[in-house]
């Protein structure tokens, strides 16, 4: 099958959906001629024009508010927040308004909107351009949270997110944009809330999100050489999340490592660890749960410090060996 990049997969999903439904439009900073800070929307303005590829001033709160207002009156906006760090400016509209509107109004509002935003470190952009804040949004009822790790998933999950009638926080990773993978040309949906087993294995389950899925895959290839067979579960959607697939994998392997880039304390890994420890798979565990997350520090600028601030392939290998007792 054709291989394209993660960024291209996202662009293709946007393009195909915009062709299908004229109520879909893009809104955010520098999406048009500039093509987005990471080039994701490049070229779309040529096909769809300024109305539907709508550049805004630097007004994150209003970007989300405008999306929300459009969503409840018949449109299907796809907003972009240029870096996830700046979503801090829009929390009020996301959390108090978009997430709660339907419930607060007795179920009568429909809020079909997507907020795309790139997270993650690794680009040398330091503390205010490198955060991974997905855990916050998993804590907010009314939102859905999606975090694709491959071009294939990015396309299918974005299409599903756009077609969903709820506010979806769609979190991309800057370092994944240029990674490639097989992606069908036609449109397809990947249902929200269904995990994917990225690799089958027997000795150990690694639950990883976003770029950590790729690192876990690399680690598992190394581990395989040493006779350790790793199963990799990618939840893909963090809210709702696919408890069943996670638990069944652990029941099979009896050991689990959870890996994400966000700070370990209070990260999404805590929720997964908690769910496991509350569930029947607790009895199947033959070693304590292991969490790998970012250090509890702001992301530093220096390349070496930056790298050390979040889990790398070697960290996953090391943790796996420790857990297996090798």
């Amino acid at each position: 099958m054709r291989k394209i990049t993660y960024a291209e997969a996202i662009r293709e999903a946007l393009r195909q959906e915009m062709r299908r439904d004229e109520n879909i439009f893009l809104i955010g900073e520098d999406l048009g001629i500039y093509g987005g800070a990471f080039g994701v929307t490049r070229g779309l303005i040529n096909e769809f024009g300024e109305e539907r590829v709508r550049d805004t001033p630097i007004s994150e709160l209003a970007i989300v508010g405008a999306s929300l207002g459009a969503a409840i009156t018949g449109m299907r906006p796809v907003a972009e927040i240029m870096f996830m760090d700046f979503i801090t400016l829009a929390m009020e509209q996301i959390v108090n308004q978009a997430a709660k509107m339907k419930y607060m109004f007795g179920g009568k509002a429909k809020v079909p909107m997507v907020i795309r935003t790139p997270a993650g470190s690794g680009t040398g952009a330091a503390a205010q351009h490198s955060q991974s804040l997905e855990a916050w949004f998993t804590h907010v009822p009314g939102l859905k949270v999606v975090m694709p790790s491959t071009p294939y998933d990015a396309k299918g999950l974005l299409i599903s997110s756009i077609r969903d009638d709820n506010p979806v926080i769609f979190i991309e990773h800057k370092l994944l944009y240029k990674t490639t993978g097989e992606v069908p040309e036609e449109e397809y949906e990947i249902p929200l809330g269904v995990a994917d087993i990225k690799r089958k294995g027997e000795d150990l389950t690694i639950i990883a999100t976003s770029i950590m899925v790729q690192r876990a895959i690399s680690a598992s290839k190394e581990l395989e050489k040493e006779g350790i067979s790793v199963e990799i579960v990618d939840p893909r959607t963090l809210k709702p999340y696919d408890k069943k697939t996670i638990i069944e994998s652990i029941k099979r392997t009896g050991k689990v490592i959870i890996v994400h880039e966000a700070c370990k304390t209070g990260g999404f890994g805590a929720e997964i660890a908690a769910i496991i420890s509350e569930s029947e798979s607790f009895d199947y565990l033959d070693a304590p749960i292991r969490r790998l997350g970012g250090l509890d520090i702001p992301i530093p600028y220096n390349r070496n410090l930056e790298k050390n601030a979040v889990p790398q392939i070697e960290d996953i290998i090391k943790a796996a060996k420790e857990l297996i007792g090798k």
Binding site: N23, F25, E51, T56, P57, S59, L61, A62, V64, G65, A66, S67, L68, G69, A70, A71, I72, T73, G74, M75, P77, E92, Q93, N96, Q97, M101, K102, Y103, M104, F105, G106, G107, K108, A109, K110, V111, P112, P141, G142, K144, D164, D165, N166
Partner: protein
């Protein structure tokens, strides 16, 4: 006056309904029958009714924590409002929203928010959607003087300006944001002047004169429908009651409150209609009685309505 007799009478009736609705819920609250707080707009009825009267029925409004008046002006069913106020299953929001979140999306009432200024960004999106769908509607966004100091105000008015969105930003300046006098919170005389920062008209209106409110909003509506963009209208008015139930009214004087009560917008409008021979004292009495009856019936309706069921507590979180 372009307004028909019928419409004028309807406007007065709505003012009474607002007044009586709020007096009633104030009373219910004092009996301990209400869980939560509420924000009364008694004294500000001319703004809600005057402004919404300049809209067509399929236009949109966005309301605030002090929103009973906006809802009634937009034609809300008082039964469903009262039921919501009392947290009943039959209420507009199935008892999940309460006083601060009454909404009726299908009638164009896009709801009240408890976050000051929270509706302003949303209104820009409604304006954008109107523009993109080319429906010719407009959206009227209510907010208070206090809200005009939030970042949301600035970002939204700027967005509406550059895209020439059909939004009417209506600032109900009742002189205070909770205990904060607008004189302390804002260093200029008129909030309306802030429209200059965005390049669209800003107007100051006597908010206790319903016809003036109507007139200025109508002008803004026409402008919006023509695609000329947003307007900011500041209606100077006053709330007679405390900010909410926790208010001891220490920050303003009895005299000040008393002087504004003398400027009652309902009495003023009523007297005007009588002086213009549109109504008589007797007819007004009938209108008043009708309004009171509607409120009483609404209380009965609400009281006889079931509570929401706990089994259904998850309903409405997601589509």
């Amino acid at each position: 006056m372009e307004l028909s007799r019928e419409k004028l009478i309807d406007m007065l009736g709505k003012m009474y309904k607002i007044r009586f609705f709020e007096e009633k819920v104030d009373y219910l609250f004092s009996l301990g029958l209400v869980h939560g707080t509420m924000h009364l707009s008694i004294g500000q009825e001319a703004v809600a009714v005057g402004a919404v009267s300049a809209l067509k029925s399929d236009d949109y409004i966005l309301s605030t924590h002090r929103g009973h008046g906006h809802c009634i002006a937009k034609g809300a069913d008082i039964n469903l409002m009262m039921a919501e106020f009392l947290g009943k299953e039959t209420g507009y929001c199935r008892g999940r929203g309460g006083s601060m979140h009454i909404a009726d999306i299908k009638s164009g009432n896009l709801g009240a928010t408890g976050v000051v200024g929270g509706g302003i960004p949303i209104s820009t999106g409604v304006g954008l959607s109107i523009k993109m769908r080319k429906t010719g509607q407009v959206v009227l966004c209510f907010f208070g003087d206090g809200a005009a100091n939030l970042g949301a105000f600035h970002e939204s008015l700027n967005l509406a300006a550059i895209w020439k969105l059909p939004v009417i930003f209506l600032c109900e300046n009742n002189m205070y944001g909770m205990s904060m006098s607008v004189k302390k919170a804002v260093a200029i005389k008129d909030i309306a002047k802030r429209a200059d920062s965005y390049g669209f008209p800003g107007e100051v209106v006597d908010g206790n004169d319903i016809l003036a409110v109507y007139e200025f909003v109508l002008k803004a509506v026409k402008r919006a429908r023509k695609g000329e963009g947003p307007s900011l209208i500041e209606c100077k008015t006053y709330r007679w009651k405390g900010h909410s139930k926790s208010d001891q009214n220490l920050y303003r004087s009895k005299e000040e409150i008393g002087s504004w009560k003398k400027k009652c917008p309902i009495r003023r409008f009523k007297e005007k209609l009588i002086s213009k021979d549109i109504l008589t004292e007797e007819k007004v009495k009938v209108i008043e009685e009708d309004a009171k009856n509607i409120i009483e019936k609404a209380v009965d309706f609400a009281n006889n309505s079931p509570e929401p069921s706990v089994e259904e507590i998850f309903e409405g979180v997601y589509s």
